[in-house]
């Protein structure tokens, strides 16, 4: 078989380039768990089992904190403005480095 002419080669290259242009957009991010935020096994509670009471950002330290509570603590916090929490309530504060620091 004779080698394709220069024109045909150019046409093929052009067709390939066009087809490549129509290909699926490249991915930008993939799904992943945040391993650096995992605290499993290091604490007396499980962040995925408790519920949220509040959160805060400390720009001076570049941290974001989350206050978790067990059912007793959450139930009280949602029904009272005071801080006279009942016996058996438990909290945990989890602080992590904020990914985007704020100006002081």
């Amino acid at each position: 078989m004779k080698a394709p002419s220069k024109g045909l080669r150019l046409l093929c290259i052009g067709a390939l380039a066009w087809a490549a242009g129509c290909a699926k957009n490249p991915s930008v991010t993939t799904a992943a768990l945040n391993q650096s935020a995992a605290l499993v096994g290091a604490l007396p509670m499980n962040p995925l089992a408790w519920r949220i009471i509040s959160s805060a950002i400390d720009p001076a330290n570049g941290t974001m904190s989350t206050l978790y509570g067990n059912d007793l603590a959450v139930g009280y916090a949602r029904a009272n403005s005071q801080h006279d929490y009942p016996a058996g309530r438990r909290w945990m504060i989890r602080a992590g480095l904020a990914r985007r620091f704020r100006p002081k």
């Binding site: 066009w18 242009g21 991010t29 993939t30 995925l48 950002i57 009272n80 704020r102 100006p103």
Partner: protein, 314 residues
């Protein structure tokens, strides 16, 4: 096939190529009615990289005028203008302008815009890191945090006191315009991540229902299983005298509910957003989901989810 045998085939191709040049959908540049108002350096970046598809000032280079490239260009310009048109941008309310610009910069940062195919053919449109920094700085200028006013604090406290009084009573909340029902029990879902947004000064918690939490524990999050649901709850930031931030007035709650078949037209997720303490459904009609889909589409390889949940066990 011999070289001679290719000749008729190439001849037909050449004739077809010439013939399709006459199939030219109309592409005009309507008058610029309310162009984006931004500093010159910001505008220059957007004009170079975005205006060809996202304004009424489209300037197609010669190679985009040749069919079939022309067809692709016309399609992209039509879609681009429908989604965001900088030539009519000034007509939008200021808050909406800011939200759209935030989404635009996010898409650039994620590599989704300008479209990768477009960037390959138009290398001058690639936004370099220093240009991205200019855009981000314009969107969220680095300025000292201002403490919240007493009026803002009082309003947030009053809202919180009212919320405590109503307790578990849930007011009737209308579904989102796409029919997605409001799920009052989201408050009892479990925390899977937390974020803040510099541009609109909100602090956020992302909560997951039981199916989502189990998927995280078993690391089956791509794709997420049907029935998995997230609530992103946002409060306005309340800043004290020392610059520390805590949640102030409730701003909004958004849902993403996974059902690959039921929501096949919106990336396999049902979307909803409710604003303010009254939980007013967001959007005039079901098309509000175009905003959600447009913003989340670049996350295709993460099943369209931005959140990177913290690892956990059950």
């Amino acid at each position: 096939m011999t070289h001679k045998g290719w000749a008729p085939f190439l001849g037909i191709l050449a004739v077809a190529f010439v013939a399709i040049q006459f199939v030219r959908p109309r592409l005009t540049n309507p008058p610029v009615s309310a162009d984006l108002d931004a500093p010159a350096d910001v505008k220059e970046i957007l004009q170079t990289s975005c205006y060809n598809c996202h304004s009424n000032e489209t300037k197609l280079p010669w190679f985009d005028r040749v069919v079939p490239a022309y067809w692709i260009a016309v399609r992209d310009v039509r879609r681009g203008r429908a989604r965001l048109n900088f030539s009519e941008f000034g007509k939008l309310p200021a808050a909406q302008q800011k939200g759209i610009l935030f989404e635009s910069v996010s898409q650039i940062e994620l590599g989704a815009m300008p479209l990768p195919d477009y960037r390959r053919v138009h290398p001058e449109s690639v936004i370099r890191p220093q240009q991205l920094a200019v855009l981000k700085s314009y969107l969220a200028p680095v300025e000292p945090l201002q403490p919240s006013t007493q009026a803002e604090i009082s309003a947030a406290d009053a809202q919180h006191a009212k919320w405590i009084q109503t307790g578990s009573t849930t007011p009737a909340v209308s579904p989102a315009p796409n029919g997605l029902a409001f799920l009052p029990d989201y408050k009892n879902w479990k925390p899977i991540s937390s974020t803040d947004r510099l541009d609109n000064h909100t602090i956020r918690q992302i909560l997951g229902n039981d199916i989502a939490v189990r998927a995280i524990a078993e690391n089956h999050i791509n794709p997420w299983p049907d029935g998995a649901a997230f609530a992103k709850v946002a409060w306005l930031e309340q800043v004290d005298d020392k610059g520390s931030i805590r949640p102030g007035a409730f701003f909004q709650v958004e849902f993403m509910i996974r059902d690959a078949k039921k929501y096949a037209n919106t990336l396999g997720w049902g979307w909803g957003r409710w604003r303010g303490a009254e939980l007013t459904p967001y959007g005039k009609n079901a098309n509000f989901t175009n905003e959600c889909v447009g913003c989340h589409r670049p996350m295709a390889d993460a099943n369209y989810v931005f959140t990177m949940p913290m690892r956990g066990e059950l």
